[in-house]
Amino acid sequence: MHAQLQSVGCTLVRMTNMQRQGASAVTAAKCPQAAVELAEELQKQLGSVAPALMFVFASTSQPLSELLPLMAAKFPNTAVLGASTAGEFTERGDTKAAACALAIVGDYRVTVGIGTQLGQDPERAVGRALEGQPSHVHGYEYRTAILLLDPLAGNGEETTLIAATALGDDVLLAGGAAGDYLAMKETWVGCGPQVANDAVVIAQIFSKQRLGIGISHGHRAFSDPVKVTDAEGGIVRTLDGRPAWDVWREKTREHAAAKGLHVDELTAETIPAFLLQYEAGLSVGDDIKIRAPLQLVENGGISFACGMPTGSVFRITESEPDRQIESARLAARAARRQLGTAEPASAVVFDCICRNLILGERFNDAVHAISEELANAPIAGFETYGEIALNVGEMSGFHNTTSVVLAFPRSPG
């Protein structure tokens, strides 16, 4: 599928301090009614002002391939991006089997594209997504890129690096890997009327004010080091010379038992959720970077959300609920700090499904913590299979089990 460029400008509207510059909406209706309800709610909040940018996050109950084209048609002057999810939320709280949207109003120029065959050739997919997009827009000093990708292509980190390289050093990068409610079968991303799997969407937001990004995970390593001894792409076959799943069960047995989980009683249906609670932590400087195992493959191998090169050394991690909630708060706080003196107008959040599994009912506490730190501005987000965040000048961009908050500043009135 050839990349399609959708370039949208937003006429600067003289706004008073009371003009909403962001709006969120959520619905549990099925398509096409879901599109009607989301659009009505957003238009009720924003009035006649056309958003420059819109995010749409859809559960498997509202297939993205149906919802996104409908939303794009209802907002023809808006750059509409979307992803399928493993859960959705707004500042009102967490939802399941729903679709949510975040509309952003302001003086932005947004360009967007999609590239397919991500698993086969990530360079070409990124190239196609970026084809025709400018690297700068006169008068708009700041550039932020949004990346939405299919993690089942198995090359999330590689794709993020390729995109970061292509975009250049002066770009802030944020985004997420689509989900499918832990089915691990098909995840979707889209822009405008185009929706695809095995694809990557890249949008560039050109702005006159800086956007703010915050990243935080709440994990702690507890195992001794484990070395990847045989891997290809995101598939780890052996650890320390033994089948990966055997090693994982051995290392997590005691910690899991303390929580009432018995590793020998896990089934094909329960293993994915178990793996997301005990993830890999790569030592990076004095910190750890989390790598999410997704599911078992043949011969005791484990499939990860991104590439795990042979020779990598990591420790298995876990996290307690309070640390998870605090880390969500810290991510939002960091994003707000980067806005400088500007107040937050809205924020999009990419948060790992693992948090929801760890927190259960308390996931709403994490959502509210984010909302509080952002002065209750409209937010929308989805539960991902991987998070993307790269501050200007940084090296690594693909994270797992991490909260990534991208805050949009309020324009002065």
């Binding site: 190239g127 690297s135 991104c306 090169p309």
Partner: protein, 167 residues
């Protein structure tokens, strides 16, 4: 820069241990000696790692692209301004144009292969690139022995005439 410090640049992607192991392997492969890596050695290591598939290659190419903005790997040729980290390139050059420069001397397929490989080593995935980036790509090819190097040097000179430096 020390080997350990250089490895730390790759650690955010590969992890501490893997990054150090890869850099040590590169140093051995390329025959470098000592614990200090100079700019051209760093570039050579990243160029070699950049050929590897997957995350390792992508990380090396990304770091090379960052370094290209700060490492004075060679003096800019006369008549071509070396713009460091330019945010607003004056003009663009396409891969098709670069390929065409070589097509006259080698086959079209070979020309495409040469340019694709050189662009990939510089982290260029798009069809268009800045004049500065195109010059860097040609500079790398210019040191290739034989007809490729000759063609690259001519192409670089023509680029300089086409896009003279400001001032």
């Amino acid at each position: 820069m020390s080997v350990a410090a250089f490895a730390a640049e790759l650690a955010p992607v590969l992890g501490n241990e893997q990054a150090l192991a890869m850099v040590h392997a590169s140093v051995l492969h390329l025959g470098h000696r000592g614990d200090i890596l100079f700019a051209d050695q760093q570039r050579a290591i990243l160029g070699w790692l950049g050929e590897k598939p997957g995350v390792v290659g992508a990380a090396a190419r990304h770091l090379l692209r960052k370094f290209d903005g700060s490492l004075p790997s060679r003096s800019p040729p006369p008549g071509v301004a070396k713009v460091q980290g330019s945010k607003h390139p004056r003009s663009v050059v396409t891969r098709t144009e670069l390929t065409a420069a070589f097509e006259r001397s080698v086959s079209t397929e070979k020309a495409r292969e040469i340019i694709d490989k050189a662009c990939r080593a510089h982290g260029v995935v798009e069809e268009t690139m800045s004049v500065e980036m195109a010059t860097s790509v040609l500079e790398d090819l210019a040191i290739t022995p034989g007809i490729i190097g000759v063609v690259a040097r001519f192409a670089k000179a023509r680029l300089a005439l086409r896009f003279p430096a400001d001032g």
